[in-house]
Every structure is written in C-alpha cells, then in structure tokens.
C-alpha cells in the first residue's frame, strides 16, 4: 500500500495521477458548491436576528476554515519537501500559498461585508479578525520570499523554514491577540454562541465547506502541475510531453 503511494512522489508519476484526479475534484467542487449555495441562498431560513445577512456566513466560515487549513498543509508539505527531498511536496507548498492567501482575503472581505450590517462597522480590532489579518501577512511574506528567490528548489526550501517558523508562531500570535483584545475591549461578539446551529443551516454550511475543500484540491493539483513542469523542464518526461507523447 505504502509503496504504491511512494510511487507518486516521483514527479512524472504524480503528474499523470494529478491529471486523472483533477476532473473528479473539480466536478465534486462544482456539484457541492452548487448544492451548498442553493441550500444557503434559498432553502436555509434567514436568521431570526441577523435576517438575510446570515447567508454571507456560508461563504465566510468555509473560507476562514480553509485559510488556516491551507497554511498547515503548506507548512507540512514544505517540511516534507525539506526533510525527505520530495519535489512533489515542494510543488504542493508553492501551489498552496496563493490559494491560501485568497481564502484568507475572502474570509476577511466577506467578514467585513457581514460586519457592516451586523456590527455597524467594516472592521473591528477583534481577536479573530486580527489573527486572520496576521495570517494574511504570513501568506504574503511567504509569497514575497518565493518571488525573491529565483531558484525554485531553493525558494521552496527557504519557504519551508519560513512556514515552519510561522506555524510555531500562529498559536502564539492567536492567543496573545485574543488576550490583548479581551484586555482592551471587554466582551467581544461571539458567533455561533452556545446553542448549536439548526440543521437547516448546518447542512448547507458543511456542504459548502466540503465544496471549498474540493475546490482547493482541484486548483492545487492544476497549480502543482504547472510548478512541476516549470521545475522539471529539463527532464526527459517533460520533453516527451512537449513533443506530443503521452
């Protein structure tokens, strides 16, 4: 079993696998997002307090979940690439950075759109918002470092060290920001407080979350193929691919 997985650490094997998997993930993402959006925009009831604005949450919460998830994937892939010299893992880390940054930006933007009618302001220096903003800074730093180092192999390895430092710092930043914000602002607004949300809202939310995951998988696979083609452009299998072979 494990040996069959090892096989795909080789770039050309992974390339073929990625080609086969992308339509499945892409199809799943399209289907899940369509069903989830229909559920979120039509079938889910408006919130008794938040009214129709609650529908923003169906995009906002999955995006916020993904923002952290992708950073963990990025750091784990980077460290795998660094320690075991796996080129595919490097490609995954590099491919994930812009996607994670986009999810983070989406979470911030939708949160801001939701905050205006709910809290009466686009932005509050609340602990959650602030740590999300810092997460965006960490992504941007990673992307800037990738842009600054021309050699992609070295860029991925340097990025792995940066992502590992960031990963150690994320919980510290999160809790210190939480501590700071409660110290200065008193009680902050909590979403989804004590009572569990009703199934009519939870189900579309979970479908949307799965849709986001599938979308990430599909786009990451496509981006990884580009990364691999670029970094392996001198190897035989890419030349063969370019000359029309399968």
């Amino acid at each position: 079993m494990l040996e069959r997985l090892y096989k795909y650490a080789a770039p050309h094997q992974f390339f073929a696998l990625s080609r086969a998997l992308t339509p499945w993930f892409g199809g799943a993402a399209a289907a899940l997002l369509a069903v989830g959006l229909a559920g979120a925009l039509w079938f889910a009831p408006p919130d008794y307090q938040q009214g129709e604005s609650v529908r923003i949450i169906y995009v906002h919460v999955p995006a916020a979940w993904m923002s952290l998830f992708v950073y963990v994937v990025l750091a784990a892939a980077g460290i795998t690439g660094l320690v075991w010299n796996v080129k595919v893992a490097d490609a995954l880390a590099r491919a994930s950075a812009p996607l994670g940054a986009s999810f983070t930006l989406l979470a911030l933007a939708t949160g801001s759109l939701w905050g205006k009618p709910m809290w009466g302001t686009w932005w509050v220096w609340d602990a959650r918002l602030t740590s999300e903003l810092i997460l965006l800074f960490l992504y941007l730093g990673y992307i800037a470092l990738q842009g600054a180092i021309e050699d992609t192999r070295m860029a991925a390895r340097a990025g792995a060290v940066l992502a590992a430092i960031g990963l150690v710092n994320i919980p510290i930043i999160h809790y210190s920001v939480e501590w700071w914000s409660t110290l200065h602002q008193g009680p902050t607004i909590t979403r989804f407080d004590a009572p569990a949300i009703h199934a009519s809202m939870l189900v579309p939310l979970l479908i949307m979350a799965l849709g986001f995951k599938a979308f990430y998988a599909a786009t990451a696979l496509v981006r990884m193929r580009c990364e691999l083609l670029e970094s392996e452009c001198n190897s035989a299998w890419v030349t063969e691919l370019g000359s029309g072979g399968k």
Binding site: F137, A144, W180
Partner: protein
C-alpha cells in the same frame, strides 16, 4: 579549536567589526529617536495624549529600528565569503550563529534600551513606567535579535532584502509588542506586570531554543 573558543572568536570579531563601524551602529538608533519624535508633531503636544500613546510609539519604533539593523548580521560576511567559511567550519553552525546573534543583540539591541528610556522622558511618561519599559526591552530585544537572525539568514544575498525582511519579520514581533505595551500600561495603572514578564520570558526561551537552529538551517539552504 573547541566550539567554545570558536564561538568566542566569532563574538569577538563581530563586536570588534561593529565597534569599528560606529556610524552603522548609530544609524538605527538615530532613526529610532527621529521617528519617535515625529509623533508629537502629528498628534500635537498635548501632554496627556502623549502619555497615553507614548509606550506604544516607543515600542513600535523600537521594532522598526530593530528591523533596520537586521540586514547587517550577515550582509558583509556573505559578500566577503566569511559566511561560507563559517558553514564549512568543523564547529556546529548553530553555536556559531548563536554567537553572531549575541553580538548583534549587544551591538544593536542593548543600545535601544537607553534610547527608549530617553524617549520615555520626552513623552513625559510617569516614573512608574520606566522600570517596566526597561525590563520588557531587556526581554524583548533578544527575541528580536534571535528571530531576526533566522529571517536574515533566509533572505541573505537577495536583492531588496531589506524590505522583504521587514515584511517577513514584523508580523512575528506582534506577541512581544502586545505583552510589552500591556506591561507598561498595567504599571502606569498601578497593576502587577508579573504575568506579562513571564510571557515575555517564555517567548525568549522559545526563541532561544528554536531560532538558532532555524537560522543554521536557513544559512545551509541559502548557501548550500
């Protein structure tokens, strides 16, 4: 040569080089004082307002000054090949990098402390704020030097590395900033600052255990 003697030699060399280029050392400090004294022009000379924003301004400007001084840790050594020799040396790179970090803290971190105290007087902070300012700076500046060494190692030799380094490092300084300014604020309100000092010490211990290894790994990657 034993590792301890090698570290001492690196430390001595860096201190000596630093003291021979006094202007380079002074520039971040002058920058610090200038930037911090810009705020009263923008905010107004109203004393109570200055006392409120004082600790935050002094700390944020200290972050910027510390960031400015990071570039020099490896820059000259990278240019003249010393860095390669350090990597090739038989002694563990982690310890040699640690000696360089210590030298950077002594040359660029410690001088921030008296400068900050002078600024505290300019901002007319109460005397109760001085001790927390001193203690948080003494705990915070080594964290800057340690984290800064690791990230300076990552960006060594890159064109435009100064701004890039600032982008990478400023978000990581946030916890230190939060606890330090909170400590000063607490002291000014007559509250205990023990909690914040413990947190800062914990951050320092964490940085001490992790960052030299990250810096050594980063140097190997960049020069490997």
């Amino acid at each position: 040569m034993s590792a301890a003697r090698a570290c001492k030699a690196v430390l001595r060399r860096d201190l000596l080089l630093g003291l021979r280029h006094r202007a380079e050392l002074a520039n971040p400090l002058v920058f610090y004082v200038i930037v911090a004294s810009l705020f009263p022009f923008a905010v107004g000379s109203d004393t109570p307002t200055l006392a409120i924003i004082g600790p935050s301004v002094i700390w944020v400007c200290a972050l910027l000054a510390a960031t400015l001084s990071l570039d020099r840790i490896f820059h000259a050594d990278f240019d003249d090949g010393t860095l390669e020799q350090l990597i090739l040396a038989r002694q563990p790179l982690v310890l040699l990098v640690g000696a360089k970090t210590l030298a950077h803290w002594l040359l660029c971190g410690v001088p921030l402390v008296p400068a900050a105290l002078a600024l505290a007087v300019l901002y007319q902070l109460p005397a109760t704020a001085l001790w927390p300012m001193l203690s948080t700076l003494l705990l915070g500046t080594p964290v800057f030097s340690l984290t800064g060494t690791a990230l300076a190692a990552l960006t060594v030799g890159l064109s435009g590395s100064g701004v890039l380094l600032a982008l990478l490092i400023l978000p990581l300084y946030i916890p230190v900033l939060i606890f330090s300014v909170a400590a000063v604020g607490n002291a000014m309100n007559g509250l205990s600052i023990a909690g914040e000092l413990y947190f800062l010490s914990a951050l320092l211990v964490l940085a001490l255990t992790v960052m030299p290894f990250a810096a050594a790994a980063a140097l190997r990657i960049r020069l490997g």
